[in-house]
């Protein structure tokens, strides 16, 4: 529990109202903040800003912010205004807010969802300036005190919060809804948790695959570009889905559904294990609300899909042209590390997939051989040998089943994990790329600023007052942008460091667990083999 985890028992502090939140938010963003709680406040500033869409959502959902713009102009804004003016024009205050709505809700994110008052409480400790109190509805604040434990204060090493991460999501009961090409599989997503973040402890909803994709795309658009590693969603498979839609109730479509189900479960678990993502309103809505707006832009062949692909291609080209001056050796080393890891994991994944394939083949061939041996036993006219051969056939049949089971274990346990990590590492690399882009933006801003300065100097020399003023205004704006760019860059770098360390820890844990489970399955197989051959041996010996 951090210093800010003080219970909200001091109303005056609390009266640092919701409206003041916004100001505080802006205040936090500015670099020159009153030193008192600089560290803690600065941290909250580092939390990822949501997009404008969230802002809207909030407005609709809550009326905790009764008058969005009013308080900004009022006296209480004195302190914040002061600060803000250091990096931009006073009169431009409003436009500042409008221009950077992200900054507006820099901290409002995770904590905000349904329980924004906590936000207030958090921030309250920080700025103690005299700001006109607007009493918030106190009742809103009290019940969610344990939210504090989940407000991750980024400076601190990420452990599973103050209380343990107690959440279990399972995806089950795939059922086909609808018919023909419009059919889809609906999965039951059940959540069991004791965390107070949720309305209840045990609940479930029905979701379809495109819902998951929609969730991922929302999270990605919100968090990826500021450096959070958002777990990638399971891949679309047109072929697989078509088979299911068409209604082929066969082995391969069952396998496909099972594969997808387990992938969705892993995806959700990974997403909620991320402390920041867990509190995202979209995630919570996904898990809790019974109706979800249909995410249309996730269709593979839609215009949105094509647009996505074009964008990806453009990004790839851009990436190649950005040459970054890496000042931080840590990033260089990590990038190298991830490149290597990517290569190795891909190789390993390919080998494991090949193993799964061959083991399945082995199982099929063993079954064929068993039948053949049985036939041979039938035609053999020496009774004891005949019996022994039939026994051999039975043993081989059991072994074939064994191989099949082992292949499944290989697959579900090991291969899927590797696949997940290959995709995760792609996401990680994407995050690094975003950092580069941010740097680029910053640099571009600086160059532009430089140009403007030169232009201004020229104007000054030529003595053209109106144009000069305009130039000066533009320059100030630019300076603000440049500083923002720098801050963004530092923010993203910091976030990435944190994320990477979290990622590595998770990776170590995941791999250890999975591999141990896999090895256990191998041992089991061998034991069964022993049993079968032991039973066969006396039969073979009995041939006279």
């Amino acid at each position: 529990m951090t210093a800010l985890g003080k219970p909200p028992d001091s109303p005056p502090q609390l009266s640092l109202c919701q409206s003041a939140v916004r100001q505080c938010v802006c205040v936090c963003v500015s670099v020159s903040y009153p030193p008192s709680s600089q560290s803690t406040m600065a941290d909250t500033a580092r939390d990822p800003p949501p997009e404008l869409s969230d802002f809207q959502e909030l407005q609709d959902g809550e009326d905790l912010f009764p008058e969005p713009s009013a308080p900004l102009e009022s006296g209480p804004a004195s302190l914040p205004a002061e600060d803000i003016s250091t990096n931009s024009n006073g009169p431009k205050q409003d436009s500042l807010f409008d221009d950077d709505p992200e900054d507006l809700f820099a901290e409002a994110t995770e904590e905000v969802s349904l329980d924004s008052p906590e936000r207030d409480v958090l921030l309250s400790d920080g700025p103690s300036p005299a700001i006109t109190p607007i009493t918030p509805p106190c009742s809103l604040i009290t019940p969610h005190i344990d939210m504090f434990t989940h407000c991750s204060f980024d400076e601190i090493e990420e452990e599973e919060g103050g209380d343990s991460f107690d959440m279990h999501i399972s995806v089950s009961d795939p059922e086909k809804v609808g018919d023909g090409m419009n059919a889809y599989m609906a999965y039951k997503v059940s959540t069991k948790t004791s965390m107070s973040l949720f309305r209840s402890q045990d609940f479930s909803v029905k979701r379809r695959f495109s819902d998951f994709l929609g969730l991922h795309s929302k999270l990605a658009s919100k968090y990826l570009h500021i450096g959070y590693i958002v777990p990638p969603a399971p891949e679309k498979s047109i072929v697989g889905m078509t088979k299911v839609k068409v209604g082929k109730e066969d082995q391969s479509s069952n396998e496909f559904v099972e594969k997808r189900r387990s992938a969705l479960e892993r995806y959700l678990m990974r997403t909620v294990k991320h402390p920041t993502l867990l509190k995202d309103p979209d995630v919570l809505q996904f898990l809790e609300s019974s109706e979800l707006p249909r995410a249309v832009s996730t269709q593979a062949l839609s215009s949105a899909g094509i647009l996505r692909m074009v964008n990806k291609a453009a990004e790839a080209v851009n990436k190649m042209t950005i040459k970054m001056n890496e000042s931080d050796a840590w990033f260089e080393e990590k990038q190298q590390h991830f490149d290597n890891l990517d290569l190795q994991l891909r190789k390993l994944h390919a080998s494991v997939e090949s193993l799964v394939c061959h083991r399945r083949e082995l199982s099929v061939n063993t079954a064929l051989f068993a039948k053949s041996a049985a036939m041979l036993g039938n035609s053999e006219d020496h009774t004891a040998l005949s019996r022994a051969l039939s026994q051999l056939a039975e043993v081989e049949e059991k072994i074939d089943q064994l191989h099949q089971d082992q292949a499944n274990a290989d697959f579900y346990c090991f291969s899927e994990l590797l696949g997940d990590y290959v995709r995760l590492i792609t996401a990680v690399k994407g995050v690094f790329d975003h950092r580069m882009k941010t740097w680029q933006k910053w640099q571009d801003g600086q160059i532009l600023l430089q140009k403007k300065r030169e232009a201004e100097a020229k104007l000054q020399f030529n003595n053209k007052p109106e144009k000069l003023q305009q130039a000066k205004d533009e320059m100030r704006e630019l300076e603000g942008k440049v500083q923002q760019g720098e801050r963004d860059f530092e923010l993203i770098s910091k976030t990435i460091r944190k994320e990477v360390s979290r990622f590595e820890k998770e990776r170590v844990k995941d791999f250890k667990t999975i591999i141990i489970k896999y090895l256990e399955s191998l041992v089991q197989t061998q034991q069964k083999l022993i049993k079968y051959w032991d039973a066969f041996l006396p039969e073979a010996k009995a041939i006279s």
Partner: protein, 379 residues
């Protein structure tokens, strides 16, 4: 070239006696030729010495086998099947591919794969030696064939036998002969035999032969899949090893240990596959060939029977026309004699075949089970 290491893998049970013992004491692989050193120990008076060795190549074994088949005297015996030609092509191809791909893999991977391929090559080599040896032992154990003159020449004559392989014309002739034979075989098989024993044997052998063929093919496929899986495990072990050396977290030690484990697993899986190959697949393949030889015997007998019956008819006709009666009579008697001789020896041969088969299966199945157990317990 590679010397033939000690113990031989005999997959058929044979009784050897001191009067004539044959084995292959050494073998050399030279590019595409294999040279076997055939070693004989004998107390028989036919041979100049009691113990001697000669060097023989595969073609000379085939020559010996064919000489048995073509000898009318031996029509009533199951001719031991000829050993298959030594086939290192696949293995050699793999080694070549490995050499070409050397640049694209790490040094450890390359050494590992090279070792494996060499082990495979050695295994094939051992197998072909064993099969040639079994052929000779069968001949030596057979009461009649062991006295064959060609056989003695084969064993003793220490110069090259100058047996050239069949040229194209001869191979074509062989091909046609086989076609005729199988067509004939179908005709002859249709003739119902008076003798219950032979009738039963005929049906049995036909069915058995087909099923052994099927089982042999399936067991080959099964073993190949097994080997493929073992190869994959090998690659996984290498990848894990690389991951272990590269990783900076706690995972590195873990990966290294797991990699070792996979290595061990792979070695075991390959050994299991190799054992299955030896005990099961080879057994089935051998009996495939032997059952074919037994079928050939039955065919010859049936052929003789048909000839006998034809001779009878000819005799009746001659008697009716009262022309060339003596000639017909002699011919008929010859046929009769031939047929009876074949039938007599065939009966014994087939009974022996069964005994041998049962014993061989027993031995191999027991060994197979024991080996599988051993390997499973190691893990």
């Amino acid at each position: 070239g590679e010397p033939h290491p000690g113990p031989r893998a005999v997959n058929v049970d044979l009784q050897t006696d001191a009067t004539l013992q044959v084995d292959i004491s050494d073998a050399l692989s030279e590019r595409d030729k294999v040279k076997f050193t055939v070693h004989t120990k004998s107390t028989l008076p036919n041979f100049k010495q009691n113990e001697f060795s000669v060097v023989r190549q595969h073609e000379e074994f085939i020559w010996l086998h064919d000489s048995f088949v073509e000898n009318e005297e031996y029509a009533g015996y199951i001719i031991p099947p000829a050993p298959p030609r030594p086939d290192f092509d696949a293995s050699r191809e793999k080694l070549q591919k490995l050499g070409e791909g050397e640049g694209s893999m790490t040094k450890e991977e390359f050494t590992k794969m090279k070792q494996e391929l060499e082990a495979e090559y050695l295994a094939i080599f051992k197998k072909t030696v064993a099969m040639h040896e079994v052929f000779l032992c069968r001949v030596a154990a057979h009461p009649v064939l062991r006295k064959d003159l060609n056989f003695h020449v084969f064993l003793e004559y220490n110069q090259d036998l100058s047996v050239r392989g069949k040229n194209k014309k001869e191979k074509l002739e062989d091909f046609f002969k086989n076609v005729v034979k199988s067509a004939d075989g179908v005709l002859v098989a249709g003739v119902k035999d008076v003798d219950d024993f032979f009738e039963h044997e005929k049906t049995f052998l036909l069915e058995y032969h087909n099923r052994v063929k099927d089982a042999s093919a399936k067991s080959d496929r099964m073993i190949r899949s097994h080997k493929n899986a073992a190869d994959d495990i090998n690659r996984i072990a290498s990848s894990l090893y690389t991951l272990g050396t590269q990783d900076s977290t706690d995972l590195c030690k873990f990966f290294l240990k797991v990699s070792e484990l996979f290595e061990k697993t792979r070695k075991i899986e390959s050994r299991v596959a190799a054992d299955e190959d030896l005990k099961l697949a080879d057994l089935l393949k051998y009996y495939l060939r032997e059952s074919q030889a037994a079928k050939d015997l039955l065919y010859r007998r049936s052929r003789a029977l048909v000839d006998y019956e034809n001779a009878n008819k000819a005799l009746d006709k001659a008697r009716a026309k009262n022309r060339d009666v003596l000639q017909a009579e002699t011919s008929q008697q010859l046929c009769c004699h031939k047929f009876e001789k074949i039938s007599e020896s065939a009966k014994q041969e087939l009974i022996d075949f069964k005994t041998r088969r049962v014993a061989a299966f027993r031995k191999n199945l027991v060994e197979l089970a024991e080996l599988e157990l051993k390997h499973a317990k190691v893990t």
